[in-house]
Symmetry: C2
Subunit: 242 residues, 2 copies
Amino acid sequence: MMTRTRESDIRVAVSTVILTLRRAPVEELPSLALPMVLRTRDPHQGDWALPGGWLEPDENLEDAAARTLHETTGLSPSYLEQLYAFGAVDRSPGRVISIVYWALVRSDEVDAQSAAHVASGLAPENVQWFDAATLPALAFDHNQIIDYALWRLRNKVGYSRVAHGFLPPTFTLADLREAYEAILGKRLDPANFRRQVETSATLLPTDEFRTGSHRPARLYRYNNAVELADRGPLAVDEKRTR
Amino acid sequence: MMTRTRESDIRVAVSTVILTLRRAPVEELPSLALPMVLRTRDPHQGDWALPGGWLEPDENLEDAAARTLHETTGLSPSYLEQLYAFGAVDRSPGRVISIVYWALVRSDEVDAQSAAHVASGLAPENVQWFDAATLPALAFDHNQIIDYALWRLRNKVGYSRVAHGFLPPTFTLADLREAYEAILGKRLDPANFRRQVETSATLLPTDEFRTGSHRPARLYRYNNAVELADRGPLAVDEKRTR
DNA sequence: TCAAAAGTGTTGCATCTACACCCATGT
DNA sequence: ACATGGGTGTAGATGCAACACTTTTGA
């Protein structure tokens, strides 16, 4: 019953939804932003598309995602997880299976590194960061893919500690809370938020404080000892994405 | 930066973890069971493997999963969802990307149809149902894949109504509770279980009762009007799997 | 009439939410 | 001194687990 596919018919691509938190110029809630690349060829020439490329024969899926992420932004992901495999027959001319990943990159690294990356000539001007809330019409089914990635992020922030992927190694509770607020799109009570993270034991207090405005805020770091079973049996072989 | 993959190097397969609930001969909790196929060729000749096959160039991923499911069991899935794309370089000789689905089939249909299916000569003797708790060593990374599917099922039963995939159109609360108990591997309080499903409004009471032992139990049916947002934006284009 | 499953009621505990209140610092 | 965010306390609402209890059937 197994008909062997003629090998030349199906191609495998890997794309990545790369998310970061961008602080608005005036003081506001930060918002989610992601880089898109301008397509220079048909199909969909002139449209914006997710960063990605063809899978190399000797390259693991996750490595391909990290590679294209680095080629596009000059960054390494602080979190990387497979999102979904899209393979509808009509989603692209020719048969293309896209294994899509979603990644988080730290806000401070985006600011610092992307300048250096542009200067090095690697990131051309056809990479642009968009606000996740106001995306244009994108190539292929990429609007739908991003919607799903955002849904997954919002969902996952409730039961895992993904939000830490946006933040530097130490941060205040207000930093973390603002990340949650940006992801969920709503304000959270600072008092209750504090207690929630305290009882979850995922944070370790440091001796340092951030000063500069009003009462100094204690800096925390993530407690890597607590292992969240948020990916089930798959977690074991993908530890390196920490 | 995009190097076009030489097209002959990567092949795409679709496999499916097909789960049903099997009632033990003596009266006990039902247990999860799944069909495996005996490999007749290398690699892993003589080992049991997940049902699957090569993706056809003009076939959608989900259709391929449903097709191999039908070829193996003679059944249609009552629930079908993508599990994960496995693509480690060393998981198989040659480069194979396996898009794995997981499916639920109704217990009553397994009993009825599989006899007819075997009689028709389509399902050869090298298909065998195993108890999910006592699997032998399987071909490739299929033990790991099944572990992940079972984890996903246990997880999902908490916030969605997947358990209904094991049951006929009408069923008693005890039927549903036993399905939950088999999935979660623990007993549930009948009284509290009743209240939980009642407040969730996912069930519609019918006027019928199941008699035959002790006090008759009311039959319920699922309320298809309530749409659970358990798959996010992906739910829209995959409605037909109901 | 008795066993057993169907179905209802009630109580206690843990958690979440809203919000009042104190604390420490820059201006 | 005072405005502001950091941090603590607390009362009400809600949800859930445990378990006593009533109902209805088959044997």
